[in-house]
Symmetry: C2
Subunit: 451 residues, 2 copies
């Protein structure tokens, strides 16, 4: 087994891999190279850092370089990996002083993450146009807001991050327009559920424009409007939240096989097609446990799990990562949304004959303060009655209920099992029939009628 | 199939049975007899009604007699069922005017519930001594507090209801002592978890005395102290929250077989040993899905489910109720607690070789407001690594996580599956490793070392 482990990438997957390898194998030397200045930070916290809900940058950083050092991991920020040579088992690194050197590995973990999609549109380079994926980007955004006091923001992209950034900028007092190219925002949810999210954003004062692509940024040095299929929209701040793509150029150049959406193809052990090279996190694909097919759903949770498995195996272990069901949760203004498994649309795309059942109930018992509506949609396989996915939107306490559905998806359970669950009830937490049970009961009735 | 359904009992199980039967079979006449004045109310809400968190009695009542009437259910409050004659298939009913009459049934559902245990102690009849199971009891308690302005309360019994009532009375400004006969409060949780609950109660100003039985109430007409193994405790209000026992005397007298803790023995169809007689709710036993054995865990959730199944079958259906895992949740002051399946102690009593693994983590991401500690205990079967139970205590958002464990228990899942779950993460809801995953990872490591 190899003695020198190199990890490329120092955020969730990379640092998880390095930490796990260090625990697994005390003999290994472990070097993490990242072109970023920060390591081991929570990118998902940046919308909250932007709005000062999280007011301290340091808390977003799990561990410092020194702390990793004490754990046997040498982290090298601002060291960019330029090339991987699988034949000589080495990575070409450019140091902060611009000197380049080949660093040899016995085992390599590629955890290069993903980057926001920045379309090559006119004016894309203007001041006031931001992506928010890394800490320095969020810092520059905050500085820009403080210095320029923008009044009108356009957020291009109505996905989870777009919604979170809309909340952040509304909280800072900006006028916010969410501009989405697709016919609706939140395309990872079905149309009726996405409409609830749009309603919440609009109720908070945001404008939501769908079916209209961003076509350019207007302004001299600084942006003052965007051009779109829906006309010009005044904006002295633009956030690009269109989506991300995996950073896999370095892997591809080394002859590593890519898969779905150009993410690195890995097996259950997080091995790539090349010997002794592993991949994990937002640069890697994963198996979807509902469809059984390769998918690409970049999430911090998956990055941490895949990193841990890759690190364990790179250090001589025998761990497996079975796959994902695509569970995601988000807060938007006063509401919570979540989804797991397949939406009805996704089931259709996967060629699975499916139907849906949706109910609206309440988060807490009648009369208990803070009670609010919760809508639960179940997606069910025709015939087998297998649960394929779920979507939730509602008041405080709604979102994390998705975890029960996520757990059932991983066991291949039916809606009948869901209806039988002995879920917790007390007035501060749920009506006596938890909304998940109400949803399951309705789905079971529907299924019975179909037979 | 029978045309006349009688239901004895008008709270959770009884009204669920009647409602379901009415939906299932439009031809049936359905009469519900209850000796109470209120039907279809949420007994679990009474601690919150006591402290005026729920400030309106009406909201605790799901449906009125008139509303049930529109649904084909005739509810008869203040009609006490005195006797069941299985041979002539009739129930002797005493009406509000004290007249008695036999009412014939084709099918009978017994849903007589449970009643608080009131030990025959000296002074038990004094003014100021209360149980809180039915609406009128809570109303009398509220009136007593308003009129007498008691300053010092003793709550006999440190279970879930005792803790909820302690919270209620502390909120009303009383000095509260919780007096528990067992060596610790919260005996449905293991000792370390129960200690967290006691700590929270004490931090809120309650006194918690364990290992001391209540031996009597002192006072002239009105209580002014309790006698206990721990000496006299001044008290101008006493709440008995020692536990409940099933109301099964009427069933037993009719020759219906009782089971665990004198609860009515039922099969999966909620049938008793006598033809055409069903039982459901707090008067009935249930199968424990982890041990496979008969158990008695009276809860509103189970009562509703069992009632629904009993009603469906009494009306000609073929539904089954597989059983329970004993999921319970409670709020105490600022914290939330929950449990499901077997505690380590219960596993031992069931003859299952088990071990435990406990972690403390956080409810939300670092820096996110409202983040607090959460402790998760897993109970695991030796060898098989099957999850047997879980206990949770912590800050807001902690408690309902129990549902994931409850769902897994019902599938017989291992801790390895728990560790693989794709649980939802965003900073307002969880750290990137949900506390359940942290708990599972630690348990998996422990299990690996045992092998």
């Amino acid at each position: 087994m190899g003695k020198r482990l190199i990890v490329i990438g120092g955020v969730a997957a990379g640092m998880s891999a390095a930490s796990k390898a260090a625990r697994q194998n005390k003999e290994m030397t472990i070097d993490v190279y990242t072109d970023e200045s920060y390591i081991s930070y929570s990118a998902c916290s940046l919308p909250y850092y932007t709005q000062d809900v999280i007011d301290n940058k340091e808390v977003m950083i799990a561990r410092s370089v020194a702390e990793f050092g004490e754990r046997g991991v040498r982290a090298h920020p601002q060291h960019k990996a330029l090339r991987v040579d699988p034949a000589k088992k080495a990575v070409l690194i450019r140091r902060p002083d611009s000197a380049e050197a080949w660093e040899a590995y016995d085992r390599l973990v590629i955890a290069t993450g993903a980057r926001p999609i920045v379309p090559p549109l006119p004016g894309i380079g203007l001041e006031g146009v931001f992506t928010v994926k890394q800490i320095p980007q969020a810092e520059r955004l905050k500085e820009y807001i403080a210095a320029r006091k923008p009044a009108r923001a356009v957020i291009a992209g109505g996905g989870f991050i777009g919604a979170e950034m809309a909340e952040a900028l509304l909280a800072l007092g900006l006028k916010v327009t969410v501009l989405e190219m697709a016919p609706r925002i939140m395309t990872l949810m079905d149309e009726d559920m996405a409409a609830l999210v749009a309603k919440e954003l609009r109720a908070a004062g945001a404008e939501v424009i769908t079916g209209a692509a961003l076509t350019g940024m207007l302004g001299e040095d600084r942006v003052n409007a965007v051009a779109s299929d829906s006309g010009e929209i005044a904006a002295d701040l633009v956030i690009l939240a269109i989506g991300v793509k995996p950073n896999t150029e370095i892997a591809q150049a080394a002859g590593i096989e890519l898969g779905f959406k150009n993410a690195i193809r890995v097996n259950e052990r997080m091995e790539t097609n090349l010997p002794d090279i592993y991949a994990a996190g937002d640069c890697a694909a994963a198996r979807h446990l509902v469809t059984g097919k390769e998918t690409y759903i970049p999430l911090g949770t998956t990055a941490n799990k895949q990193g841990k498995i890759a690190g364990e195996n790179a250090a001589g272990g025998q761990a497996v990562f079975k796959g994902v069901v695509g569970t995601t949760i988000f807060k938007v203004i006063e509401k919570e949304g979540a989804r797991t498994g397949l939406s009805l649309r996704e089931a259709g795309l996967a060629g699975i004959d499916a139907w849906e059942s949706t109910i609206t109930s309440y988060t807490r018992a009648a009369g208990y303060p803070g009670r609010g509506e919760i809508t639960v949609k179940l997606v069910v396989e025709k015939g087998s009655r297998r649960l394929l996915g779920g979507q939730i939107f509602g008041a405080a306490g709604a979102g994390k209920r998705i975890d029960v559905l996520a757990a059932l998806l991983q066991t291949g359970a039916s809606i009948d099992l869901l209806a039988e669950l002995d879920l917790a009830y007390a007035p501060p937490f749920s009506p006596v029939w938890d909304p998940l049970l109400v949803a399951a009961n309705q789905a079971v009735s529907k299924a019975d009628k179909m037979e």
